[in-house]
Subunit: 298 residues, 2 copies
């Protein structure tokens, strides 16, 4: 399915480029570095990193397209017998400096096997330190609108997936305020492939307008050391989620993936304070409430 | 085996108290807080934490003794049929502020089942940001001397266990410079129980003199921002090891343990810088070499 692979890569490469242009424009100072890498077994990727921008303290927008013999680890993890595979995707994590600007994560991916099976997966989710209700609404509304263009049931299902997935079980709280998360959308038939590729790119194209809007809204807000601490505290929960639960992270680390690409999701700085509880009635406590009890946003 | 349980708890409680006295004396400012907790199913513990001392930025010296019906998670993880269990231990992690003072970790524990099986486990390991060869030698020599008093083969075996266990596979490096690590030392027979309890306490009693010596040696050394950064960088590797690989941490989190007690091992602050590599010929690079290639110390 050579043509599909070309189409997928073209779409994801353009997505990477467009998102980077939008992020650099909104940041106003930071520029993404470019590292092109090759995978010994086939394929490779383009890792793009920005550090110490005006708004973005550390961010990665990575593209990869890898193929070859299906590694034993993938075969056993997914119960796959197929001899060869192709996988391509775009992964983003942005850690802003200002605690009022949320962390964002996005991943869109396509997977194809030599036995003819193929699927799309992905999602976007938002992790504010301070939850602004209007932001959550705008974010979820944008995702709902994209989903609704394809299937009126998807937003509800994918939002629930995200609430279930981004749960830090040992803290009994969510990483952030969720978003959408979907996997194994069957793309075996050509008509499904076309429709799902369109959906993947539509999800991907929601990223830049929504996130630059949030950056713009909050990037110049003043903040106190106490507010900065709260951000570093919430970042520690981000680390805990990614290293303990995130399937992609754990799978990547266990299968000798590119560690630096996998762990670009780690925040630049994080704090662990024992037994920290926000003050009653504080903004931090209000935000914590959203993490403990996932909300209905739209 | 009520008498054993009393003896074990007495020994571990005294160990906790003695170590705290020695750490507070050497720190000169910090005082450990005390939190007594109870486990709904039986037993409890004493969590003691020190933050923002002169030398210790964050440290925990925890005692616990829990018993009751063997939880399903423990039964399946250890292949155990026994209906009830007893477990007691002391766990320590100290994160010093000065990057020249190493992080240290110790755990000594006793486990007993209603079917008569019983064993001791534990270990001590050192995680310096800057490796001073003489420190590594003194540390390993002290551990070897303790082991040698009980069995001339133990130090070699337990040192190898530690090198194997404290490996951050996805970084292809060790967490620090190792130490000793042992588990399932059979204490079913009374004579073995007595000898192994003596060994556990001997290991435990090595902690205070060795670590306060290292604190004393380095606590007043000046350090640069670059050296502080290297410490925060190495702490991120400590986080990665504990959350991705450490059996006790993962088991605790997965079985609804006391999250704050389990994660007292997290550093107060940690930094992740993408693609960070120490400069050729620098002290950081020399230390990194010890993490990549575990040394023979004695």
């Amino acid at each position: 399915m050579k043509e599909r692979r070309e189409l997928v890569q073209q779409g994801f490469r353009k997505l990477q480029t467009d998102i980077i242009a939008a992020l650099e424009a909104e940041d106003g100072k930071g520029r993404f570095t470019t590292e092109v890498w090759e995978r010994p077994g086939g394929g490779g990727g383009i890792t793009r990193l920005l550090t110490n921008g005006n708004v973005i303290e550390k961010g990665g927008v990575n593209f990869s397209a890898v193929f070859g013999e299906t590694p034993e680890a993938i075969r056993s993890a997914f119960g796959i017998g197929a001899e060869s595979f192709f996988a391509s995707g775009v992964s983003i994590v942005i850690h802003p400096e200002n605690p009022m600007v949320p962390i964002i994560h996005m991943n869109v991916r396509y997977f194809e096997l030599s036995d003819g099976n193929a699927w799309f997966g992905g999602g976007i989710d938002l992790t504010p330190a301070y939850v602004f209700y209007e932001d959550g609404q705008a974010f979820h509304l944008a995702l709902k609108e994209v989903c609704d263009r394809f299937d009126p049931e998807w937003y509800g299902l994918f939002k629930e997936n995200a609430d279930r997935y981004f749960r830090i079980k040992h803290r009994n709280e969510s990483r952030g305020i969720g978003g959408i998360f979907y996997d194994r959308l069957n793309a075996r038939e050509d008509k499904d492939f076309e429709r799902l590729q369109e959906f993947s790119l539509a999800v991907g194209n929601t990223f830049a307008p929504v996130y630059t809007m949030l950056m713009n809204l909050h990037k110049n807000k003043p903040f106190t050391p106490k507010e900065k601490f709260w951000q570093l505290h919430r970042r520690s929960r981000y680390v805990e989620f990614n290293l303990v639960y995130d399937a992609g992270t754990r799978f990547g680390l266990e299968t000798n993936g590119r560690t630096e690409s996998i762990l670009m999701s780690m925040p630049p700085v994080a704090c662990w304070e024992s037994n920290f509880t926000p003050e009653a009635g504080s903004e931090e406590e209000k935000s914590q409430h959203y993490f403990t009890n996932p909300a209905v946003w739209v």
